[in-house]
């Protein structure tokens, strides 16, 4: 009986699956040096930037797509992708009024009304948003307010033009252009993204946020984010993403780099909701992302929090290199897979400095026919004395057609290091559901309660507004997966 109930799957509609009719300025399909030069020229880039791209591209050509992840999919044809798609008209936008109204409607549908953001300017708890549509950053809000504090928050392209010394110095520091197959690809063809610099001694007065959306068909999205926190600074950064429903698979290969100087702290939160494909597993985004933070100097801290509900295939390991002494790395993750989704996600904590600490809390939830893997590496290098790591990896299964896997790798080269690892696997219980129902709570609400309870340690790490959104998303992603 219980199994019958579990087998029943009703469609959970992806409500962000609309496309927007906007004229786009696109590059021809395919990838070669000419395309890269085209992108670079389109963006009016300096010579060194083009060199960075070409170097990455030449390396990429000799690299092979990684196969070690616990996922299976048809590899993208990299010659069949449009590597540059910008919403037209691509001119400098002085105010929101100049943004294509269709685009604004899109954002309203996404629940981020820029108008509203603007109106709320006076309110304390507001968020500065950078919006990346297909490959191009279309609008960064609150730029002026932030500039007063010396904070630079703009599109990556603008940063290349206006702050070349910063981009040149830090780009590739955490994720070298040749780091891995997808990172190299991104380094060659990335079109835009967000850039953020917090100067010495400044705490960002608001959360900074980027919303990514893939729109045009046949395009890939390759954006880059670079966040630099100078000494004694702090910023909380949010990232959200959605994509339209399409039958084909679209590729998203992003790079995010964070660099923290002495005593600086960066909190990076993601709610990833790329289109996961339909109930039969058709379509959906391939999300192959390289995210890495570098605690460059002493006493700095980088914390990744992610709620992953979307994408057909996810390959993503937000990591921290703990180079500075006493630096701290954290990874809090909820990854939900339903239907035929596949996720191979986790983190790497590389302890180099002394007294470095890292915490990993991973909560996987698998439903339907999905596969959910945690893959984590904790490495304590020689000389990283008194390094500490605590890892906890929990898996929750809904139904008996899905899979949960844990692949923890531990390498300790310094004897004083201490690594603790805990792992549990549980099933969402009929008993728990019945208990909730007996108290008057219906099935959907009960699942929401139980799942949110299970993820609580991670959700608690998200900023308020985001936590509410994430809770709703969890409930929607799992709709109909039990009972």
């Amino acid at each position: 009986m219980a199994n019958e109930i579990l087998e029943e799957h009703i469609q959970n509609e992806y409500k962000w699956g609309f496309t927007t009719d906007i004229a786009a300025d696109e590059a021809p399909r395919g990838l070669n040096e000419e395309i890269i030069k085209f992108i670079s020229a389109k963006k009016n880039e300096p010579e060194w930037m083009l060199e960075f791209r070409l170097k990455a591209f030449r390396n990429w050509q000799n690299m092979v797509e990684p196969e070690w992840a616990h996922v299976s999919y048809t590899k993208p044809n990299f010659q069949d992708i449009i590597y540059y798609s910008a919403p037209k008209p691509k001119k400098e936008l002085a105010s929101l009024d100049e943004v294509d109204p269709e685009l604004l409607k899109t954002f309203e549908k996404l629940g981020i009304s820029l108008e509203e953001q603007k109106r709320l300017s006076g309110v304390q708890s507001n968020i500065a948003v950078d919006v990346v549509f297909d490959s191009v950053s279309v609008k960064t809000t609150f730029k002026e307010t932030l500039a007063e504090k010396g904070i630079i928050f703009c599109s990556f392209s603008e940063a290349v033009q206006d702050h070349p010394e910063l981009v040149k110095k830090y780009m590739g520091m955490a994720v070298p252009a040749t780091d891995n197959f997808y990172a190299a690809l991104n380094s060659a063809v990335f079109t835009d993204g967000s850039f953020c610099y917090i100067p010495k001694g400044v705490r960002s007065p608001m959360e900074l946020s980027t919303y990514f959306r893939i729109n045009a068909s046949g395009t890939g999205q390759f954006e880059r984010t670079l966040i630099i926190a100078d000494e004694d600074s702090y910023v909380s950064y949010l990232e959200g993403c959605t994509a339209p429903q399409r039958d084909e698979n679209q590729l998203h290969a992003a790079v995010v780099e964070i660099i923290t100087h002495k005593n600086a702290e960066v909190k990076y939160s993601t709610v990833q909701n790329w289109y996961p494909g339909d109930k039969e597993g058709k379509g959906g985004i391939f999300n192959f992302v390289t995210k890495r933070g570098l605690c460059l100097e002493d006493n700095s801290k980088i914390s990744w929090t992610q709620v992953e509900t979307g994408s057909a295939v996810t390959w993503k390991y937000p990591s921290v290199i703990l180079k500075g002494n006493n630096s701290v790395g954290e990874f809090y993750s909820v990854a939900v897979t339903n239907n035929y989704q596949q996720a191979d996600t986790g983190t790497k904590m590389i302890h180099i400095g002394k007294n470095t600490r890292s915490t990993i809390i991973s909560k996987g939830i698998s439903a339907g026919f999905s596969n959910n893997s945690y893959r984590g590496l904790v490495q304590i290098k020689k000389g990283a004395s008194n390094a500490r790591n605590f890892s906890q990896c929990d898996s929750l299964l809904m139904g008996d057609k899905c899979g949960a896997h844990t692949f923890p790798y531990i390498e300790i080269k310094d004897k004083s290091g201490v690594v603790e690892h805990e792992a549990t696997t549980s099933k969402i219980g009929e008993d728990q559901l019945f208990y909730c129902k007996q108290r008057g709570i219906d099935n959907e609400k009960a699942i929401g309660l139980i799942v949110n309870g299970y993820c609580k340690e991670v959700l608690n790490k998200l900023p308020m507004e985001f936590a509410v959104e994430a809770q709703k998303l969890l409930a929607i992603s799992l709709e109909g997966s039990v009972g």
């Binding site: 109930i5 019945f434 129902k437 709570i441 219906d442 309660l449 309870g453």
Partner: protein, 252 residues
């Protein structure tokens, strides 16, 4: 309040309830006793709407409604409460949040507005006093890491919060120490009114010293084989089930 007629229920091929008849009126307290495995918990689960059991025959009317047609959550919203023999743990969900959700779901069902946070907290304070529940337990995750006795006490706290019409207490006394037993029983008595009713499932006469039943029924092999006043419980305590077993041995 509730009227059970010829109720048969089975799990797989196994028939567990074999024709239960029971009538409980508002204001009454009924005790159900019976040896292990006789079907007491099954009866409460079936009444509460657990889907593992299949009702093969019979009718149950609850306040004029066909109970068996309602999904479990609606039975609860109609005022049926089950204090579980084995309360379930829900990690990460605070007792408070759980009860607030439950209470508001029940209110919504009756077309009432959500309770304000202030009123809700006042209610929590009031009702936790009733069962002398440690205020720390109210904010902890539902039953997680609770001792056996704390879990039982928490069930009665939830009952007090949700104010049901019919409460079924499945061995709420087991696992309680002597003081806790008295506190819980006093709580149940305070909640008693002429408009609600209680079914107490127990193995021990002791509880019935505190919660005095109007009727005592003996369940044996899925049937109520004997009913009487509170003296029946005393009789059982003295003689055990032997006589009854002999008298009602049913060929399987």
């Amino acid at each position: 309040m509730i009227s059970i007629k010829n109720l048969h229920a089975s799990i797989g091929d196994k028939e567990i309830l074999r024709g239960i008849n029971l009538e409980v009126k508002a204001g009454e307290v009924h005790a159900i006793m019976g040896p292990n495995g006789s079907g007491k918990s099954t009866l409460s689960s079936v009444l509460a709407g657990r889907e593992d059991y299949e009702v093969t025959e019979g009718e149950v009317t609850f306040n004029g409604k066909n109970l068996l047609e309602l999904p479990a959550e609606d039975r609860a919203r109609e005022g049926l409460f089950l204090a579980f023999q084995y309360p379930v743990e829900i990690p990460g969900v605070s007792n408070i949040n759980f009860l607030r959700t439950a209470l508001n779901e029940i209110r919504a069902y009756h077309g009432q507005e959500e309770m304000t946070a202030k009123d809700f907290l006042a209610l929590v304070k009031d009702k936790s006093k009733l069962v002398e529940l440690d205020s720390k337990l109210a904010s902890r995750s539902v039953n997680e890491g609770f001792s056996g006795g704390e879990k039982k006490r928490n069930e009665i706290f939830q009952m007090a919060m949700l104010n049901p019409k019919l409460a079924i207490l499945d061995e709420t006394d087991s696992g309680l120490d002597i003081d806790a037993l008295r506190i819980v029983a006093t709580g149940v008595n305070k909640l008693k009114s002429k408009d609600n009713a209680t079914i107490v499932i127990t193995h021990y006469q002791r509880l019935l010293d505190y919660i005095v039943p109007d009727f005592v029924h003996i369940l044996y092999k899925g049937r109520i084989v004997k009913s009487g006043g509170k003296e029946l419980a005393l009789e059982l305590e003295a003689k055990g089930y032997d006589e009854i077993k002999k008298e009602f041995e049913i060929a399987d």
